[in-house]
Symmetry: C2
Subunit: 293 residues, 2 copies
């Protein structure tokens, strides 16, 4: 906790030292995980792909019937204020919006007095000249825990109900892996605990389709767009582990890692390669254009 | 919040006014719903079926690999202290244990400094002479939201990941129903958002089997035992909505409601009846024996 104690978070409109940043134990975000969140990157002081985060946050809130009523510009103001107060330009930013404290018990009430928390932590930019935030390529293992199906909790909602990913990660204890790969109930590959999966077959980029139980990652979306812009064919489908094990390249994506090559899955070597490298560079250039010009 | 503001909660070893009872925004219970909980009843100052709650709490913690290290007698001490400080004898009690604040991100670390919260609220006892805590029998509707399958999150774990039930309850908005009935992915009846389901057919008591995605409710367990002790045959199986609609009686169970007859499901009338009444009385007698003698 040494890092976060020096930071300021933004809780319900006020900057507070991270060590004193709290929510009520009656907050539905604590009692039930009844909250939406986004994880973002600030590069050079600018939130990368802000509009996409706003859109996804609204999709999450719609899925939860959580009408928080806070304009996007207000949320952005809180984030910018937090970055400035911490004198941070390159950072990981988490924005959480809960349904707050409500009378009654489980049934959500339409009138919401939301709790809004902005977390920041320093995260250097890799970028065109720098090095990646991950130290090594990912070592991945498939796990027994299955991804929660869309019919139980909407897959496109990014919420504080994160036990599914925690149980997946807990299965890695005692192994050398640092990311868990979850299958859906039918045994098709879905996603990592905190990442989306990509692989390259016959020069084509493949990734599990959103029609499965897959979170629509914003880095995932950007990588698909960048691939198409770079003349790389993209296919979204349903895959088995065998499909990836035969792949020429494989990588994971999320906001922190950006593109992170997969060294091994279940002990079998894969690694990145020319397409992973090309897309990583295209991603860095996109960040450069969006945040530095 | 008028009620809870006058109450004292117990947070990490200290009694605090409910309005000032907080947890860190970095607590995993808040960030991820990474926490176990139990809802209990105090009758005449005694926690009813305490050993069963301890057992289930431990099952939940095992499912989450959450080794909190706090002896049951210590947890019970905190609960008794909270009841005494609030001068409460008949109460609803919630005990939450989170994985606390940990370094790193999603992956749970083995060393846990847990956060322990005891919530209390007054809840009069119905009992042999009094009236029930529910004002009317339940009006139930089946919902589209499906129960999270056991392979995604263990069904026997009672955790702060409660969005599945919240989404089910949110579907009731605009209807006259006060409890949502969830089916599993195969369309078999599982449970209510916060209750277990029972019904009576040809004089036999029926309830969805735990092999489905059903939380092993402690009231459910007690009702099954009381039925057998009273010579009522109990069958745990897989059922469709039609099975219940043809039932002679139907009721829901949880710690607060105890046994609550179902007036209607999806508009079709069912109601309690002689077996529901007999089991309700047996339950009240069990409370009497356990907590007042």
């Amino acid at each position: 906790m040494t890092v976060s104690e020096d930071l300021l978070y933004h809780v319900d409109g006020t900057l507070v030292p991270a060590s004193e940043a709290t929510v009520s134990v009656d907050d539905r975000g604590f009692r039930y995980g009844d909250a939406a969140f986004e994880t973002m990157r600030a590069y050079g002081g600018t939130i990368f792909a802000w509009e996409r985060h706003v859109d996804r946050l609204e999709r999450t809130c719609r899925a939860l019937s959580l009408e928080h009523g806070i304009p996007a510009v207000d949320l952005r103001g809180r984030i910018d204020e937090t970055l400035a107060a911490n004198d941070l330009t390159n950072a990981s930013v988490r924005l959480s919006i809960t349904r707050g404290v409500q009378p009654g018990k489980l049934t959500p009430q339409p009138e919401v007095d939301p709790t809004v928390v902005v977390y920041v932590s320093p995260l250097p930019r890799g970028g065109l000249e720098g090095s990646s935030v991950w130290e090594t390529p990912a070592t991945v293992r498939t796990v027994q825990t299955r991804r929660v199906p869309d019919t139980a909790i909407p897959a496109n909602a990014k919420t504080h109900n994160y036990l599914n990913g925690i149980l997946a990660r807990a299965e890695l204890r005692g192994t050398d892996a640092d990311e868990a790969l979850l299958c859906d109930l039918e045994g098709h590959l879905a996603e990592g605990a905190t990442s989306n999966l990509f692989f390259v077959r016959e020069g084509r980029l493949e990734t599990p389709a959103l029609s499965g139980s897959v979170l629509p990652g914003i880095t995932r979306e950007l990588v698909c767009e960048l691939a198409r812009e770079n003349g790389i064919e993209v296919h979204e489908g349903r895959y088995t582990l065998e499909d990836v094990l035969e792949a020429e390249e494989a990588f994971l994506t999320n906001r922190s890692w950006e593109l992170r090559p997969i060294d091994r899955i279940d002990g079998a070597g894969i690694g990145g390669g020319p397409i992973t490298d090309r897309l990583s560079r295209a991603y860095d250039e996109r960040v450069e254009t969006a945040c530095y010009r």
